[in-house]
Amino acid sequence: MNIIEEDTHRIESSIDPSKVMVEITNMNKWFGAFHVLKNVNLRVTAGERIVICGPSGSGKSTLIRCINRLEVHQQGIIMVDGTELTRDLKNIEQIRSEVGMVFQHFNLFPHLTVLENCTLGPVWVRKLPRSEAEKIACRYLARVRIPEQADKYPGQLSGGQQQRVAIARALCMQPRIMLFDEPTSALDPEMIKEVLDTMIELAESGMTMLVVTHEMGFARRAADRVIFMDGGEIIEENAPDRFFDKPQNDRTKLFLSQILSH
């Protein structure tokens, strides 16, 4: 318990709300001839929690995948923690080690145990000694509440547990920014809550987060800003209360009526 509090404290004390973590300027991207991202501008400051939503095919996943260059943008500038994303491989690997990512389908390494999944990055990218990496891994596995599964293989865990391991794996790199790409979309309904709880805790600890999700409850509770995308453009962005209660754009209203009608 002490460790977790200490850890939370460490993150909070390092937050400088005036510091810009991600800055995207006039960014465009095409898949072949298809214009997926159109003139996107986005600025995220340290400690901000952003939720990105929108209909499927609106480019929201592509947008956050551009931030750690899983997708390559063709025009515009992306700055991450003060460094511009360029073709240079060293620069990309450096930025990737500062940006954690959680995927829809977990993408854990099935041939490695949970502990090995979590120590892989710290040992091979951060060059930490194995013993120290394991200490960090155990701390984060405790934080996502599955320390007892450390020696199991991902295939032996439930979907919710796997996703929490994936979150722990990303946190073990001690990133400055966390990206979540529809983290609960592949989960059975009864497992969504355990993952959202973990994410809310992380949000409360002061982590800078960009989350693509349709979980509007999470957005209301944890987000500082909600961004609505459609057709590759950012259509509307606002604080969660205003976004849900007084949407401005017709497309936003239509989208909200579709997902909130039940």
Binding site: I95, R96, M101, H111
Partner: protein
């Protein structure tokens, strides 16, 4: 009423009931698999009778009527009507060593014994002192070559005299050990983003796969001399080893590529997202998974390579089939091809079956539950 019907229970208080009698256990198995209908019952009985007849005849020929000690085929026939194993027994040395000089045979024997501790840590991850033993495995190729060929204090035994199972083992073990890393590199090269490397690897694979091994062996035995600078003589066995290795590597590359293609894109993305470089991702993430998937295909290539080593008889090397041919040409044993070839077949079957079992065991050992 002995057992209450399931509907008599309150919801939430339903105990587990045993399955109906005769549907599980030995009786259930017999009933479902052998005697499920009158027709199947008849088939079962006929099969049992045929099996009994065949086994009785086989036991007679192989064992009860067989002759183990005799000086010639004619003597065999006087002693019994079954197999004449004497042909194998009297020429067993040739089958094992070819013409390797008798005084030096302790060397291949020692090399073979040392092969066990060299292979154990590679094949079995629970070998005691595995990390230290692996150093020995690494040194074994040099140690084995030194023992069998000689030099550095040991009299040199020329490669022309190697034959029989010794030759098969040299070709098989060297080919397998050398072709695996080469095949993996070729598979990675064929998937490379660099055009030059991709074209080079693809061409190499397609050319070697598109040519029969015999052709390659002929090239090794005759044509290679034309390409080498005059005056250099390159040992024939060495040339054959190179060809067999390259041939197997081309096939392995395709088996491994199949495994690499089965790795979901998410695995690469997750590795990228952690900031792992290409080689780290390959070594730590994709290759271990790809090799595990390709185990059946890889072992298939190994078994093929091992058996194809008998083709060297065509360029005049004395492998077990060459020995068998030489024996059958001897007037004393003329005509005993059944016994001779069955013996060779048994040797190959035991080796190949062992490889096949090992691969099954390894698949089980590496399975980590689900995906």
């Amino acid at each position: 009423m002995a057992r209450p019907t399931p509907s008599a229970y309150e919801p939430g208080h339903h105990p587990d009931l045993p399955p109906p009698p005769g549907s599980t256990g030995v009786l259930g198995w017999l009933r479902t698999n052998l005697f499920s209908s009158p027709f199947n019952t008849a088939l079962t009985l006929i099969s049992l009778w045929l099996t009994y007849k065949l086994v009785a005849v086989a036991i007679d020929w192989f064992m009860l009527e067989a002759v183990v000690e005799a000086g010639s085929r004619a003597e065999c026939r006087e002693l019994g009507a079954g197999a004449c194993w004497a042909v194998v027994a009297t020429r067993i040395d040739q089958f094992v060593y070819g013409f390797y000089p008798e005084a030096q045979r302790w060397r291949p024997i020692l090399a073979f014994i040392l092969l066990v501790p060299a292979l154990a840590p590679v094949l079995f991850d629970r070998t005691p002192f595995r990390n230290r033993m692996l150093w020995f495995s690494l040194a074994y190729p040099a140690v084995g070559a030194w023992l069998i060929y000689g030099g550095f204090g040991l009299p040199v035994v020329d490669t022309d005299s190697y034959g029989g199972f010794l030759l098969t083992m040299i070709l098989g073990v060297t080919g397998i050990v050398a072709s695996l890393p080469l095949g993996i590199l070729l598979a990675l090269g064929r998937q490379s983003n660099l055009l030059a490397i991709r074209i080079l690897c693809t061409t190499f694979i397609e050319v070697l796969r598109g040519v029969p091994l015999i052709t390659l062996l002929f090239i090794a035995s005759t044509m290679l001399n034309y390409f080498l600078p005059p005056g250099t003589s390159f040992n024939l066995l060495l040339r054959v080893l190179v060809m067999v290795t390259l041939f197997a590597a081309a096939y392995l590359a395709e088996a491994v590529r199949g495994g690499l293609q089965a790795i979901p894109r998410g695995q690469y993305e997750a590795a990228d997202a952690l900031g792992l470089s290409y080689w780290r991702t390959t070594w730590l993430i994709t290759l271990p998974q790809a090799l595990k998937i390709s185990i059946p295909g890889i072992v298939n290539v190994f078994i093929g390579l091992y058996k194809d080593s008998t083709l060297v008889v065509i360029i005049g090397l004395l492998d077990p089939l060459g020995v068998a041919r030489a024996i059958l040409a001897d007037a004393k044993w003329n005509g005993l091809s059944n016994e001779t070839y069955l013996f060779v077949a048994l040797f190959f079957f035991i080796s190949c079956f062992a490889m096949s079992r090992y691969s099954l065991w390894l698949e089980g050992r590496l399975s980590t539950g689900g995906r």
